[in-house]
Symmetry: C2
Subunit: 441 residues, 2 copies
């Protein structure tokens, strides 16, 4: 039991309730109560923390990520054919349960330090990722990725589904780790395999489906050429455009596509920075939100977006919609923060448990210090958080009632060990990259 | 005399020379020598600092800013008519030498903490800003702003020019503070007044001219309606499109405008984030750079861009050009970093003194720790700095051979006093804002 007192509480609940000076009490993994004004008397054995006016808000939710790819961060920047030049060869040669474990542990360390308490991941050997998320104390939706390009852990879709069965078997009913199945994308999984995933998913109702969708012009061309329709329609034909689908990217969607997505209860993980860095474009977020499609902020893998913190995404998410709308008004700071908390939780099917501070919900919360000169004055706390705050302003992180970080010290992972392991693997990868570059020279 | 040893030196010189393990020696305000490998033996009385492999690079250059407006940071976010609703009334009522001094001191504290050693400023009571820049130990180009809307310090252009004379008189020949004259913008200063500034500037060759140019659609409309030409042509007719002109924004420039700007030796301060947050658009940076127009990164005032650090600008600067170019290739990380250092120095006419680490140039440099998990692995140090590093990774800052910050402690300003003064003034401004909001309600 913990009692946070003297906090500036941004609940992110439906009414955007704020308590300029408030308190919050946890009980077990949950929020027992919260309110404005002076804290109630502490209970026996309760830890009381005076937050000194700091912000307390929900832990952030990163709705699409490839945690292991921290190991590729900054590799092949500005190179258009990086996927075929670097990523696929490196993944075939170097992605193993060990490197997945080490890379996703580095990611978990970064996520906690940035105030992210929930992450949706898609990668290979995903059981390892689930175990890392569990060990780090985070909440996660961990998706075993299936693809027809023979990824490093499965030569066939059958083998991929078998890995998914293992993953679901290990984590079904886990309080924080939700197993998930992740067909890579329409063009890289194919209609027949997606239809098999749809059948499997229908038999496994607690296992959400994630995929990349409508991310590239070449994907739109593939769908037209191969199926005479648009990518969203291919997914629909496969039976995957269904309630709870977590669709990442969705840049190239028409009004009709969005109508259908809204009708089917699909959620979108919006990777603003990754999409822009690739020169691909800006997702029509205004159109999605106008249809009440839940849209969550996401970082994508760190080879695309470099970091896993949502702070780096906030300004781009807002700026891009203001540019499209040619006005300051679209995507105000408070909407951006909703997309990084409660709306992202909705995308992941976790809105009943996390994403806002309300009694009965899980105690997933963070404390943010407003001490830095860069943050002052605070005319509007949402603007301060969205346009000026940094991951390093997060001081404390709690997930499911357990402290993962206090005073910027991560408690669930051994910082130095995590870094040493990651540097070791990066060195091994360096040799592979040198060989790739050498073969081209 | 200081000897930095065991540093990863990014010189940002013309050849982009790097020393993976290098050293740098200062002498007085300058860089005496630098090189790769182990440091030479220390001289008598020399302070030796082992940088432990940290990055040492030039201090960053913020080529357009309104330092005092830190006090307005986050006010009127997402409000299209904020200029008339908040800014102008607040400036008339509340901008005095005292509030300019206090606001620009808060900005100086933030700049130093973010590794910015040179700043170009435009505001009112600019003599106060010059004194603050001097006291903080920063390098600056401080521009007395002139406008025909009766700004708080001058009812007429004559009064504004008198203030400029005072400013130039105080700082002419100063080793770090360059006085400057800043007609606000074509539409707000007018052709006749700009022509007077041009005459004055011709008689004062050490005083560069700064102005806002081609920032808004309404400005293009004004120029067409009033003068039958484009904003750049109005400035040209006034005689201000001249070598050394520092033109901020330049969103709405044609190919012909850019040809003329290149021919006349104009430099551009590129405010990517401010322009995007206002929904105004993206400056055609590729076209400028193709013409060898120097383009420097800038934050604009913190009411527009929220923070004064260049890290928050780097990703937008790159992403926007990749979006326009529909490819990963435009504006690679090393070009972005050049635009935040040596190219910005060129815009300000200071490239012979700062912006790169070369013997004989001023010792304006920063040290950046690569300790954070978010920064690893480092495949490419430029990508790490541009897409993953944060102001809080800057540990030490030197300007003109003097340490302004060591181990994140600012040495030239009293942190707590600066913050207390700023909070006091923010409170006073709050009363004015409440009255403005009350009058509207």
């Amino acid at each position: 039991m913990t009692l946070l007192a003297n906090a500036r509480i941004l609940t992110m609940d439906a009414g955007m309730t704020e308590h300029d000076r408030g308190w919050l009490r946890t009980g077990g993994s949950r929020i027992a109560a919260l309110g404005g004004g002076p804290a109630p008397p502490p209970l026996a054995g309760e830890e009381v923390i005076d937050c000194g006016g700091d912000i307390v808000m929900p832990g952030m939710v990163n709705s699409h990520c490839h945690m292991t790819m921290t190991l590729f961060r900054g590799l092949g920047e500005d190179v258009d054919d990086r996927l075929f030049r670097y990523v696929l060869p490196l993944e075939r040669q170097a992605i193993t349960p060990r490197t997945v474990r080490i890379g996703s542990t580095l990611a978990a360390l970064e996520l906690i330090r940035a105030g992210v308490t929930t992450v949706a991941d898609m990668y290979y050997f995903e059981q390892e990722v689930g175990r890392v998320v569990d060990r780090a104390g985070l909440r996660g939706v961990v998706g075993q990725t299936l693809a027809d390009f023979a990824p490093p852990d499965a030569r066939t879709i059958d083998e991929g589904l078998a890995l998914t069965e293992d993953l679901a078997g290990e984590f079904r009913g886990h309080p924080r780790v939700t197993p998930s199945v992740a067909p890579h994308a329409p063009y890289s999984t194919g209609l027949a395999a997606m239809a098999r995933v749809a059948e499997w998913a229908a038999l496994n109702p607690g296992v959400p489906v994630q995929l990349h969708l409508a991310e590239m012009v070449s994907e739109t061309e593939w769908a037209a050429r191969t199926h005479g329709c648009r990518p969203v329609e291919v997914v629909d034909r496969a039976g995957l455009l269904r309630p709870g689908l977590i669709a990442a990217h969705c840049l190239f969607v028409t009004e009709a596509d969005m109508d259908r997505m809204a009708e089917q209860g699909v959620g979108v993980a919006h990777n603003a920075r990754s999409n822009a860095k690739a020169g691909r474009g800006i997702a029509p977020v205004a159109g999605m939100r106008a249809r009440a499609i839940p849209v969550g902020i996401a970082t994508d893998g760190p080879m695309s977006g470099n970091t896993l913190d949502l702070f780096a995404q906030f300004a781009p998410v807002s700026m891009f919609q203001k540019l499209l709308g040619q006005s300051r008004r679209p995507m105000p700071a408070r909407d951006v923060l909703r997309m990084g908390t409660i709306e992202a939780a909705r995308v992941l099917g976790l809105a009943a448990r996390t994403g806002s501070l309300e009694p009965g919900k899980e105690a997933d919360l963070i404390r943010i210090a407003l001490a830095d000169p860069r943050l002052h004055p605070v005319w509007d706390p949402y603007a301060t958080l969205v346009f000026a705050a940094l991951p390093t302003d997060v001081t404390d992180v709690m997930c499911a009632g357990r402290w993962l970080m206090r005073g910027r010290e991560v408690l669930t992972l051994e910082h130095d060990r995590v870094m040493a392991d990651a540097m070791q693997v990066a060195g091994e990868f360096g040799a592979v990259v040198a060989a790739i570059d050498g073969a081209r020279a």
